[in-house]
Symmetry: none
Subunit: 153 residues, 4 copies
């Protein structure tokens, strides 16, 4: 009985340590699903956009530029995703803050325009999506539709 | 005769497909004409400016700094052309949006000052012009005069 | 009938002029095909790489990072594609030149490592592919396999 | 008489100071002449290059990209001119030094490839020319032909 309890304790502690030392990741398969959902939504609305996905380290793992999208969106889509990832919030939050008077935030290394969303799983940030190409409100609609299409939790 | 007409039709359709998969370009000859018109307008007004022309890939193919123009305009003229090219619209559009309250656009990688215009041919963007050196309104007047001087469509 | 043929001839010549002043493009559909072929080759060899495709303007229109690829390859794959596009030649050409003694080329803004190839169609450069993740020879094998899988001419 | 001599002395000294505080300049007219000579030489050889001219402050005052020149030459031509200007010597000097064993110069912020030449007038450096597009030896031939075509001293 004593040995059994000791073994149980070891198992629980090991599991706990294992959980504490790992984080969920965003792999290419999931990124493809998110990007496909984004492209499907954009196509259904006849919108052209650049779609970017960052992983749990904030690294670009997927980028697609739909035909006809303005060239500037290649950089902007990445910047929106970067801002959403680095500050764990939708870029629209910063947009609203600046529009609401917090104009000093223009000095921050952020892109405060709707269309960037962090991606969470079990309360961990596992990446971000950045959309650019149409109006920022439309960019935001695509980003939200893309994340809704996959079940992360 | 019938075979001849069929062959002709095939040739026309083939050419049409080739056009659909290609885009018009802005060569040095056209860039020179646009820049000469810009310089002529500037000279007639006794203004000094830097003139920049980007091609269909957004690459700098012509730059001229008129004597006496402030040094900062060498970079600004290029940035205005870049913004007009990358976002397919006059830089004044962004200037007006930010002046009108969309101050969060200050976080975008754009130069939101009048004087940059995209260049279109048959609904394709084939380049951009950027002017800097005098007031931004005057820069804009030169850019417009330059594009009006050449017939693109 | 004569007027009809004349009209046809004019149409054909007009189309021809339009083609002469334009260049072929690399769209997302073609980029997807090339990237899929690259990923298939990499998977078959059990290699992990980042795949990047630039379009006819040298702009990034597709990027995919296969799971497990080293993070540095995200930038290197883009740099290889950039070098291949900007100098219209395989990056291996520069690698061989530098290895062969032209060490002053290390001061050039290039990435002289195998794995980047320009993409041509009808003698026009329409883009480039950049691969990074395994050895540079293996990166080059993937790039070549990817372009061979699509018929461009 | 005394007042006259004093006045004369003041005039001479003022003139002397004025000369000491000025430097010859490279204006757009001269830059155009140099660039035209470069383009003429390139055309006569059926070569395509980017031509760049810097002024006495090292600022870009003229850039022309001949049709068909590789995109990378837009940056490289500027870098060659910058190196020639900043170090008051032909870029080939650095190329030869590195090829000759001084490989540590690869850590310098220079572009050590033939095709960049400083422009002197009365022992003052008044600018630089940078050529890129064909082989570096050919780039150098164009740069030399361009400067020979204008009489600077």
């Amino acid at each position: 009985m004593r040995h059994f309890l000791t073994a149980l304790l070891v198992m629980i502690l090991t599991a706990h340590i294992a959980i504490a030392q790992s984080q969920p990741v965003l792999n290419l398969e999931l990124a493809n699903k998110i990007a496909d959902a984004a492209q499907e939504k954009a196509t259904s609305e006849n919108w052209n956009v650049v779609i970017t996905i960052l992983d749990q380290g904030g690294n670009l793992i997927l980028l697609k530029k739909m035909d006809g999208t303005q060239i500037g969106s290649i950089e902007v889509a990445q910047l929106k995703a970067k801002t959403a990832f680095e500050f764990k919030r939708p870029t629209k939050v910063f947009e609203d803050m600046i529009k609401g008077g917090a104009v000093h935030l223009n000095t921050m290394p952020i892109t405060a325009v709707e269309g960037g969303l962090p991606i969470f799983k079990d309360e961990h940030i596992i990446g971000a999506i950045g959309i650019s190409g149409v109006t920022s409100v439309q960019d935001g609609i695509i980003a939200e539709a893309a994340l809704k299409a996959v079940s992360l939790n």
